[in-house]
């Protein structure tokens, strides 16, 4: 069996309306993003024969197919939290390689802000080990888990509250150059440090935004991609895993599934961390960027805070990270993974205007799901 590396390409990407979209449903936003991504690719709806989406409803992919009027040949509603869309991309590449579909649409939509759907306790789901053993202790889900990772990181490496805030400052610097970003006003360290603590050590300012929004990505064979509207962006490497579901079952608070998926995705791509030009790491919380940089091999354990403080991930730095402003400042409709792919593709197409990373030829996207439970890494590149 040949590797899927370099055999498939992303040919269309788009966001739906973002921010506050009170007159639309989650599925509307998935449809809107899908139609925009088709236009971006120069494809028509009838050419889509694979549908990948999740969290719209119990039968998400059926629902989206019905809304689009498509009778698809391949359906996937896999749900593993915010990294679901990186997983969808990997699954779509495999399905195309196997001849089960030719052109796949990966789509997402959420109106969590307008519906006020976000709750402190999160999703208290029946039938889980958390429901049997953990929810009775009233953890805030997911923030309390990320807070315990941050506390352990601070304890082990001497990471400070200012180090965490530094991640949010960099995100805002990038967002200030993105017209689609929800928060673009300049931010100061003092403002961040004055933000109230929710689950120590994490403050409101350490948490991603709560917005509405959707996105879509279209993937097809490289052969077909060459005849479409945009420069094909090759899928060079993919990898996914899960390490736990309930909080108590995490194997290690600082060594994550990202270490495994990063290594495997880079190996599939035939690249090393030093070969990556632009990085997108799902920043549900500020701590995610620090542990992500360390587990993915961009920094040694414990060195990410000084790496960020030195400006390496900021505009003009040697490792531009979350160049659209991330979940912290650009948008966060609840599952951010698809927006990592959208921004990486635009950077590789050189379509990012003021925030464009010069000569970006390789990108790494790393998304997480749940409470650092699921991990998926995608490496993209241009030929």
């Amino acid at each position: 069996m040949t590797s899927i590396s370099k055999q498939m390409a992303i040919v269309g990407v788009a966001e739906s309306d973002l921010g506050v979209v009170p007159d639309k449903t989650a599925t509307d936003l998935a449809v809107q993003a899908s139609l925009r991504a088709l236009a971006d690719a120069g494809l028509s709806l009838k050419e889509i024969d694979g549908i990948f989406t999740c969290n719209l409803s119990r039968f998400s992919s059926l629902q989206l197919a019905e809304q689009l009027g498509i009778q698809a040949r391949y359906l996937d509603s896999s749900l593993a939290g915010g990294c679901s869309f990186e997983m969808h991309l990997a699954h779509a590449c495999a399905a195309i390689q196997a001849g089960l579909c030719h052109t796949a649409l990966i789509a997402y939509g959420s109106v969590q802000r307008s519906k006020r759907a976000r709750k402190l306790e999160g999703f208290v789901e029946s039938g889980t080990s958390a429901a049997q053993y953990e929810n009775v202790y009233a953890p805030l889900y997911p923030i309390s888990f990320y807070a315990m990772v941050a506390q352990r990181h601070m304890h082990t490496y001497g990471t400070s509250l200012e180090d965490l805030a530094g991640v949010a400052l960099v995100a805002r610097q990038w967002a200030s150059m993105n017209p689609m970003a929800f928060k673009r006003d300049p931010l100061t360290l003092d403002e961040l440090m004055a933000s109230p603590v929710i689950s120590s050590p994490l403050r409101v300012a350490d948490c991603c935004l709560v917005t509405d929004g959707g996105g879509a990505v279209i993937v097809t064979s490289m052969e077909r991609a060459r005849n479409l509207a945009q420069k094909p962006i090759a899928v060079l490497g993919v990898a996914e895993t899960s390490t736990h579901d309930a909080m108590s079952q995490v194997p290690d608070l600082l060594v994550h599934g990202s270490k495994d998926t990063g290594q495997r995705a880079l190996a599939m791509a035939g690249l090393q961390a030093k070969d990556i030009d632009v990085v997108q790491i799902y920043d549900a919380f500020t701590i995610n960027v620090l542990v992500g940089l360390e587990n993915l091999g961009f920094c040694q354990p414990g060195e990410a805070a000084s790496f960020v403080a030195a400006g390496h991930t900021a505009p003009g730095g040697k490792l531009p990270l979350n160049t659209q402003g991330g979940g912290l400042s650009y948008c966060h409709p609840g599952m951010f993974g698809i927006f990592l792919l959208i921004e990486a593709v635009r950077q590789l197409r050189q379509q990012c205007g003021e925030r464009q990373v010069p000569q970006a030829r390789t990108a790494l996207c790393h998304a997480t799901g749940g409470i650092f439970s699921a991990h998926a890494t995608t490496i993209l590149g241009v030929e």
Partner: protein, 138 residues
């Protein structure tokens, strides 16, 4: 704001765990084949895959892997601030629990703790952990 915290779901092997807790015993499983421990109860050993496991009482001592103090409670019957902790028992298993005896927002990573039981409604008792010695943050 009248949401109260959910009681544990006690189906399957969780029934024995919570019945034991009501009698002030914290139970975990030990594998007959590899002698390793696991929390929570399962039909098989996650270490070696064997299917014969015994319930054993823990010694009730361990250390804090990490902790976090919550300042916004989702539930009317859980008063803030309260501190959650991942506790690594000396048997080598980890539980999510509450940490007692410290300052709100303190760092108690690696601090030693001792098991207690805290009464809840409907006959449930919650395994919780109290800091040993001083409550000074690490």
């Amino acid at each position: 704001m009248s949401l109260v915290r959910p009681l544990p779901e006690t189906d399957g092997l969780a029934a024995h765990y919570w019945a034991s807790a009501a009698n002030e015993k914290l139970v975990i499983q030990r594998c007959d084949s590899c002698a390793q421990y696991q929390h929570y109860g399962r039909l098989m050993c996650v270490h070696c895959g064997a299917g014969t496991l015994q319930w054993v009482d823990t010694q009730g001592e361990g250390a804090v892997l990490s902790c976090t103090t919550v300042y916004r409670s989702p539930y009317s019957d859980v008063q803030t601030p309260y501190t959650l902790a991942l506790i690594r028992l000396d048997e080598g298993v980890t539980l999510l629990s509450h940490l007692l005896g410290g300052d709100a927002g303190g760092n108690y990573c690696d601090a030693r703790v001792q098991l207690e039981f805290s009464p809840l409604r409907d006959g449930f008792k919650l395994p919780v952990f109290r800091l040993l010695e001083s409550g000074e943050p690490a």
